[in-house]
Amino acid sequence: MKLVLDQLIPYSLKDKIGRSGSAIWNQTISFSQSKYVKVEAPSGTGKTTLTHLLYRVRSDYTGSIKYDQLDLKSSNDNELASLRQNHLSIVFQDLRLFPDLSARENIEVKRLLTPNFSSQDQIDEMAEAIGVSSILEQKIRFCSYGEQQRIAIIRALMQPFDWIILDEPFSHLDQKNIQHSVQLIDAACKKRNAGMIIMGLNKDDYFQYQKELVL
C-alpha cells in the first residue's frame, strides 16, 4: 500500500510552516510499502499532529493523504474501519488504552477485530519477549507508563497492517526493553512486508531507515 502526501498543511500550523522549511508539510512525497521512515521532529513542529492526520484522528488540513486510492479525508465510516483493521496500525504517544480494562483485555479489544490473524498465545509470547507477562491481568490504570507503552505496542501488532505509525513509542523504556521492542516490531513488519513511520525528537538508529525526514 502506497502512502502519498500532497501539499499537506494542517490548519493549526499554517502560519508556522510558511516561515520554516519542512520535508513533509506542503510537499508532495510518496512512501512505498515496506519502507522504514523516520520523521525527526523537534518539539512544536507538529509531530503528533502528523500522526493524527495520518491515522485520521483529525481531518483539519488542506492537501491530501492517500493510501493507494483511498483519500483519507473523504473516506467513509466503513472504509476507515476497514483501513484501521487491516492496513494501518498505530502506537499513540499518549497510548490510548482503556484504563479500566486489564492489559490483556486492552490487547484483546484490538485482536478480536481480526480474530483469525493472531492468537491469544501470541499475546503471551510477545508479553514474555518484552517483559510484561506479569502484568497482563492487571488493570491498565495500575501499570507504569513504561508497561503501558509496551502493552500499546503489543496491541498494535495484533492486526494485519501495511503501515505502522509509531509516535515516540519508546519514550519511557530502558535500553534493554527498547531493544526487545524493536526486535518485536521489526519482525512483525518483515512478516507483513509492511512499512513503518516512526516519529522521534532526535536522530536514532533503532531501525534501518530507508528514509529520514525532518519535519
Binding site: D77, A81, V109
Partner: protein, 398 residues
C-alpha cells in the same frame, strides 16, 4: 468475546434506576395502547361475529313514525326506499309485505278451541331467523307454514294462559298443532290447514312465505289497492352506528328503540377506548423521549470509550448494532410482556362474558398483534436513529 469487552466498556453509567423508570413508563404505555386496540376489536366482534349475530342487533324493522299528519299515509315511497338503500351503513333491505285481505285462524280440535282474526306479513327469506325446510309454500302444498314471534308465545304462556285457565304450551307442542286458516276477499273465500313452523326473535309479526303472500294478495285483493310497503327490514353491520340513528331521525323513521340504544353504548365505548388510546399514545411519546434521553446519556457518558473503540477500527455501525441489541432487547421484552398481559386479560374477559351468553374470542385479535408489531417498529426506529446520531456525534467531536 468482543461483545463481553464492549459490555465492560459501555456500562449503564447513566444509572439503573433511570433505565428501570424508562422501561416501566414504556410498559404502561404499551399496555394502554394494546388494550385500547383490543377493546375496540372486542366491541366489533361482539357486534359482528357469527356467534353473536344477535338477531335483534343486526336487523331492524323500520317504519314511519305515525303522527297526526301522516295517519293513513304511512307507506314508504319508492324514493324513500331508494334513498334508504343508498346509505352506506345499510347492507340490505327487504320490504315487509302486509296482507291486504281478511284472514282468520281457527282450531281444528274440539279439545282446544280457539278462533281469531289475524293479519299476516311476509319478508324475503334471507331476513328470517328461522332455519327450517318447512318454510315453503305453493298452490299444491298441504298446509301453510307460519312463523310466530317469540313474544306471542311468551305472552300466551305467561299472561293469557293464566287468565283464561288454559294450559301452557312449549314451542314443540305449538309446532304440532294444526289449525284452519281462512282467507277472504273480492267475494271469495278459501280455507287451508296451517301450522307454526318456527318462532322469530327478529320480526314481531305473523309471517307467511313470500310466495303465499304474493299469491293471496293477487287473488283476494282488488288490484286498485295500494300495495306500497309501510315497513321495511334492514340489515346493518352495526345498529349502534350513530349515523344510522341520525338518519332515521332525520327521515322521520322509527325502529325498535331498544336496538338503537346500542348507539349510546357505542359512543360510551368509543369514548373509553379513545381516552385509553390517547393516554397510551401520550405516555408512549413521553416514554420514548425518556428512553432516547437515556440512550443519549449512556452514549455521552461512554463517549471516550466509544471514540477510542472507533479509533481502534470498530465501525460505528457495528457499535450501533451492539448498543441496539443492548437497549432494544429490553423493549422486545416489554412488548412481549404487554402481549402476554393483554392475552391473560382477554382470556379472563372471555371466561367472564361466556357466562353472560356473550361470545368473545379467547385470544387477542390480529389487530392487537399488528399494533404490537407496529409499536416495536416505532421503538426500534427511535432507538436506531438515536444511537446512530449520537455515535456519529462522538466521532465528530474528536
Amino acid at each position: 468475546m468482543l461483545q463481553q469487552l464492549l459490555k465492560k466498556l459501555i456500562k449503564n453509567s447513566a444509572g439503573q434506576t433511570k433505565f428501570v423508570m424508562a422501561l416501566i413508563g414504556l410498559s404502561v404505555a404499551v399496555v394502554l395502547i394494546l388494550s385500547a386496540v383490543q377493546l375496540q376489536s372486542n366491541y366489533y366482534e361482539l357486534l359482528n361475529s357469527k356467534n353473536n349475530q344477535d338477531s335483534i342487533a343486526n336487523f331492524l324493522v323500520v317504519n314511519k313514525a305515525l303522527t297526526d299528519q301522516n295517519v293513513g299515509a304511512s307507506s314508504l315511497s319508492e324514493l324513500q326506499l331508494a334513498d334508504l338503500k343508498k346509505q352506506p351503513f345499510i347492507e340490505s333491505i327487504g320490504t315487509l309485505t302486509a296482507s291486504r285481505y281478511k284472514a282468520s285462524i281457527q282450531s281444528n280440535s274440539e279439545l282446544f278451541p280457539f278462533y281469531t282474526d289475524i293479519a299476516f306479513e311476509s319478508v324475503p327469506e334471507e331476513f328470517i331467523d328461522v332455519n327450517t325446510k318447512e318454510w315453503y309454500w305453493d298452490e299444491h302444498s298441504n298446509y301453510l307454514p307460519i312463523i310466530v314471534p317469540n313474544q306471542f308465545l311468551d305472552f300466551y304462556n305467561f299472561q293469557y294462559s293464566f287468565s283464561q285457565n288454559l294450559p301452557q304450551l312449549t314451542p314443540q307442542v305449538v309446532k304440532m298443532v294444526s289449525f284452519k286458516v281462512t282467507i277472504q276477499g273480492t267475494g271469495q273465500s278459501i280455507s287451508m290447514n296451517g301450522r307454526v313452523v318456527g318462532f322469530s326473535n327478529r320480526i314481531s309479526s305473523m309471517l307467511v312465505p313470500q310466495s303465499f303472500m304474493n299469491w293471496a294478495n293477487g287473488k283476494f285483493v282488488a288490484s286498485s289497492t295500494n300495495q306500497q310497503p309501510s315497513r321495511v327490514i334492514i340489515r346493518t353491520k352495526d345498529p349502534g352506528n350513530p349515523a344510522l340513528s341520525n338518519y332515521l331521525k332525520k327521515e322521520g323513521l322509527i325502529t325498535d328503540a331498544d336496538k338503537t340504544r346500542f348507539s349510546k353504548y357505542r359512543q360510551i365505548v368509543d369514548f373509553v377506548v379513545n381516552i385509553s388510546g390517547i393516554t397510551g399514545l401520550l405516555m408512549l411519546s413521553f416514554a420514548l423521549l425518556i428512553f432516547s434521553l437515556f440512550i443519549q446519556l449512556t452514549i455521552a457518558s461512554c463517549k471516550d470509550e466509544i471514540a477510542l473503540l472507533i479509533l481502534l477500527g470498530n465501525a460505528p455501525k457495528s457499535l450501533g448494532k451492539f448498543l441496539m441489541k443492548r437497549f432494544f432487547t429490553a423493549n422486545i421484552w416489554i412488548v412481549l410482556l404487554g402481549i402476554v398481559f393483554i392475552s391473560i386479560a382477554q382470556y379472563s374477559l372471555y371466561s367472564w362474558l361466556i357466562d353472560k351468553q356473550m361470545m368473545l374470542s379467547p385470544f387477542i385479535s390480529i389487530y392487537t398483534l399488528a399494533a404490537a408489531i407496529l409499536l416495536l417498529l416505532v421503538i426500534a426506529w427511535m432507538n436506531y436513529s438515536t444511537i446512530q446520531k449520537y455515535i456519529r456525534l462522538q466521532q465528530a467531536t474528536k
